[in-house]
């Protein structure tokens, strides 16, 4: 199947998705939305890995093996981040980053 989509289109799409994640990370103050932005950025990275695996690599194993390991890391990050969010909610009664001052920073 020849889709006719060049590799650079996939890479630019991944870059755009990553930048949307960066914007969400910088502009929001709710911890859960910040977690979602990090998930978007990780998804952009995996999109790049799969695109490179399709276009640049004859055996097409390395990119997907990396992608699977990034998936496991993303799942671990989501579980740990949301557990932290719930723990902060229990102690501070808020998930707004400006109001979390447990460390008195």
């Amino acid at each position: 199947m020849i889709t006719g989509v060049p590799l650079s289109w996939y890479l630019i799409l991944g870059a755009a998705l990553f930048c949307v994640g960066v914007y969400g990370l910088l502009a929001n103050r709710n911890l859960i939305i910040i977690m979602m932005s990090i998930e978007l950025m990780l998804n952009a990275v995996v999109l790049n890995l799969v695109a490179f695996a399709r276009f640049m690599e004859p055996a097409r194993i390395t990119g997907k093996a990396f992608a699977i390991i990034v998936y496991a890391t993303a799942a671990a990050e989501a579980a740990l981040g949301l557990a932290l969010t719930i723990a902060i909610w229990r102690t501070e009664d808020t998930v707004t980053i400006e109001e979390i001052d447990l460390l008195q920073g």
Partner: protein, 165 residues
């Protein structure tokens, strides 16, 4: 213009629109639903890349796992108490930072001259090769085991952090 390009452009617009709604949505629950839509569009892009296995685990892990976990966290924390004003005042500077980052990355990508077509067709036994490489000591056995131990540690740590006190 190939049909694949049209499909790619439509899916890309849907994905970026959903992602923008995730980071700008006023209600956090709506942001979680747009996040699911964005993940689904990424799975369709994997199908365009002829990687149905990656599309499947995108659906299972991201939509079935991470997005559901996010929805549960939103329900537990009542959406974070501030439904109307969860953005910082620095929205414009954040937009400038991310747009200039995108311009730099897009310019670099267009300058590098990547191939327009994949070099060879999809190997029939690609999935079997991937599975063998993940348990091959000369392949990716060590990172695979390390990441499984890390998942175990993280899940036990999450249970510890989220327990009832």
């Amino acid at each position: 213009m190939f049909a694949g390009q049209v499909v790619f452009l439509i899916i890309a617009c849907l994905m970026l629109g959903a992602a923008v709604r995730v980071v700008t949505s006023r209600r956090i629950f709506h942001a979680a639903l747009w996040l699911i839509g964005s993940f689904f569009c990424v799975a369709v892009i994997y199908m365009l890349l002829e990687s149905p296995f990656m599309a499947g685990i995108q659906l299972f892990i991201y939509i079935g796992g991470i997005a559901v976990l996010t929805v549960i966290a939103i329900m537990v924390t009542k959406g974070g108490m501030h439904p109307d004003s969860h953005t910082l005042g620095n929205g414009w500077s954040a937009a400038i930072v991310s747009i200039s980052l995108f311009i730099v990355m897009a310019w670099t990508i267009t300058q590098l001259g990547f191939p327009n077509e994949p070099g060879m067709p999809v190997a029939e036994e690609g999935l079997a090769l991937l599975g063998a490489a993940l348990v091959d000591p000369g392949g990716y056995l060590v990172p695979f085991e390390v990441v499984s131990v890390m998942l175990m540690v993280v899940l036990i740590g999450s249970l510890y952090l989220g327990r009832e006190r």
